[in-house]
């Protein structure tokens, strides 16, 4: 088995300040970036902060920027780099640094709590749901999401624009709204709040989120664009508008959850 030295250029620091520090670390055939970080911890930098969990691409913990690209460290093979090429590892940029490669992703958990939850018909008892595979497949694609938040990190609406964070939930949570909207057993209507409270309109479908998704979910094509179409149907259709004005079709939108930061 061939063993070589890799040069890692790792961002070390905390919320205050930090700098890139160079390390030479042994690397073996077949290894991924996270292996090298573990070896670095074990041999040279025991206190290097790296968030990880499953090391199998299933939990979405080890998100970082590898040579500037948002990626999972556990799914980035060392063989994708030129031998001898320094590999620069920095924390994901959109969220505040806690320490080294670990960031504070609490923004995402706050947004998750603002979206009205799954709302089934109360008349259907557990065990009585009947859904066809073709109907659940759309939401199932979005439920593959491992919440690595790479899409949140790369989205230009909030990357370098913290002022938009209040009004924009980010691709992951706009996709969550789409998932609930397309759930065959859900009865709530989140179309108006998708636009008004969660900022669907900010998305101008540049597909950066789709490009970085480690689960290859077609976030833009399958979640965001169809959601935009549904919102247009709800908010801007003149007949729907007229109906709501003359009281024939009163609003049935699910209100945003109380406590939402507005």
């Amino acid at each position: 088995m061939s063993s070589t030295k890799a040069t890692l250029r790792v961002w070390r620091g905390d919320a205050g300040q930090g700098q890139l520090t160079d390390y030479q670390v042994e690397a073996n055939e077949g290894e991924v970036v996270l292996d090298i970080l573990h070896r670095l911890q074990a041999t040279q930098a025991g206190d290097l902060a790296v968030r990880w969990n499953c090391k199998a691409g299933k939990c979405g913990s080890c998100s970082m920027e590898i040579n500037g690209r948002p990626r999972l460290a556990c799914m980035t093979r060392m063989s994708t780099f030129e031998p001898g090429e320094p590999i620069t590892l920095t924390p994901i940029r959109t969220f505040p640094v806690i320490r080294d490669l670990v960031t504070d992703v609490s923004f995402n958990y706050a947004k998750a709590r603002e979206i009205p939850s799954f709302t089934p018909d109360p008349a259907i008892r557990p065990g009585e749901f009947r859904m066809q595979q073709v109907d659940v497949a759309r939401s199932q694609e979005f439920r593959k999401c491992i919440e690595c938040f790479l899409c949140q990190n790369v989205c230009h609406v909030i990357r370098d624009h913290p002022e938009n964070e209040r009004a924009f939930a980010g691709p992951r949570f706009l996709m969550r709204i789409a998932e609930l909207e397309m759930h065959p057993a859900d009865t709530a209507d989140r179309r108006e709040i998708a636009q008004d409270d969660f900022g669907l309109g900010y998305c101008n479908i540049t597909k950066c989120c789709t490009e970085v998704c480690p689960e290859n979910i077609k976030i833009t094509d399958n979640a965001l664009i169809p959601m935009k179409e549904r919102v247009v149907g709800r908010k801007y259709d003149p007949l729907v508008w007229l109906g709501s004005k003359i009281g024939r079709r009163p609003h049935h939108d699910t209100p945003a959850v109380p406590g939402k930061r507005t």
């Binding site: 025991g46 939850s117 859904m131 959850v257």
Partner: protein, 633 residues
Amino acid sequence: MSEISRLSYDVVVIGAGGSGLRAAIEARQAGKKTAVISKSLFGKAHTVMAEGGCAAAMGNVNPNDNWKVHFRDTMRGGKFLNNWRMAELHAQESPDRVWELEAWGALFDRTPDGKISQRNFGGHAYPRLAHVGDRTGLEMIRTLQQKVVALQQEDARERGDPEAMIKIFAETTITRLITDGGRIAGAFGYLRDTGALVLFEAPAVILATGGIGKTFKYTSNSWEYTGDGHALALLAGATLMNMEFVQFHPTHMVWPLSVRGLLVTESVRGDGGVLRNSEGKRFMFNYVPDVFRAQYAETEEEADRWYTDPDHNRRPPELLPRDEVARANNAEVKAGRGSPHGGVFLDIASRRPAEEILRRLPSMYHQFKELADVDITKEPMEVGPAQHYVMGGVEVDPDTAVSQLPGLFAAGEVSGGMHGSNRLGGNSLSDLLVFGRRAGLGAAAYLDSLAARPVVGDAEAAAAVAEAEAPLERAAGENPYTVHAELQQTMSDLVGIIRREDEIKTALTELEGLRARVAQVKAEGGRAYNPGWHLALDLRNVVLIAECVAQAALERQESRGGHTRDDFPEMSPEWRKVNLICSLDGDRVTLRRQPMPPMRADLMALFDRDELAKYYTKEELPAADPAPAEETK
């Protein structure tokens, strides 16, 4: 002494995987103020890695299935060492727990008539595993996570604070349970991001910390699996049972080395995949043990017919319980018929169309493609056994999940008894739900019966602080990563899949030395998000639990399920009557034998006498000519 924040809760759930979240939901729904402690971020716990499915006898695919069949399969899989009451509750309640998830938003794969689809798995007589492709664990944890959020939204509406009744403490680790007069009074720990110390004052603690994988070198388990709950229970005065039973799942990636131990789901075999050796031979036909001979096919033709006509053919031997398949894989490699990287071949490419493989096993396709450059629709996978699960755990009451220590509950992998000597695939996710819920109910009932809240004494709190800070404050000491790696090597080499008396004794001697070294490790750096410090504290648990496993493995002189003794290869009916109980005497691990309570007659009557005779002593068997085993509900 460093400053500690004191927080008051009714219930503290340690662990935020399937069992922890299910327990927390139940406790909150019973009106108890609940804290959930998670070593990782919310929604990242080890449950996300579960692939194949959640076993529940809903009978959606084969209407002959019911709880009695599931109960029988579970007892057989565990070689009748299971706590039969737990196996009974589990088989009876799993369907309701799965349906409940659906009502909370889970989207399982469907049957043509719109019900939850169910797939075949090792040791299960009928297609029984509710699943979502090969990412079932992710669906479960996300559903439970979203149910917690839904409850928090309710609390925001009704109480003005989403965290009024249930709060997640993400990236928080508990290092000590604190007792008062022989009952639980609280839990002490630290927040990973800042290193701040925190004391939870709570009369009820539910352990839901999962397993002990990081005791071994090659494991499918995540870093969190350092036996925390097992060790916390032991240190607080509770007991562990049957710690010798460690599951080595038969199919993990063996190459590249960096991903050695990464799980390859049993669904590959459930969906038609077969194991072959370097000669291309389907070798599992040579490894069907006597106790299972009647239920498994003897020819490839019969085995292949079973997939489409299970009522008239016997099951392929690739679907034997995991312990049998793991030993077979191990034996083929030892006999020199292994794959180039020391595994065996798992072949689905020649058995199913590429389109079907991609649809049913998307994560496996992705995993092999990304990490090993192997296209599983075109070539076989190289696989081998690795540590996957521990059947042993905290000794609990089956109905309420309470341990031997009042106020301390345990559910999921950290609890013992349910799976006997070997767990069937799919029975873990259902275990989490059934006993997570029961632990939540048990804790709520315990709180209602409590006259006065126990109190956390200052001395105990101070001792916990000193212990947690020690690795940071030591002037010098060993590197925790080095000690951990040596410990894992020792356990894998000497108390692994095949065990012998002399090797286990060597391990125990080495562990004594390692325990002394663990007590002297030094963490460099500060308190904020310092993985070296975190590992230094986790190591106390790893080495303590390793000793429990080794001691129990030495004591049990037979081979059964997840405990294989080269020097005692037979399964012994006498040993089936024995549970091995670990406790702490001062800082010494002690072991005692405890008789297994006899199975209730109505459950015993579900088995043929001939089958029971393979496991039980003559004296234990029911009188001859019993009523025939009942097949329907």
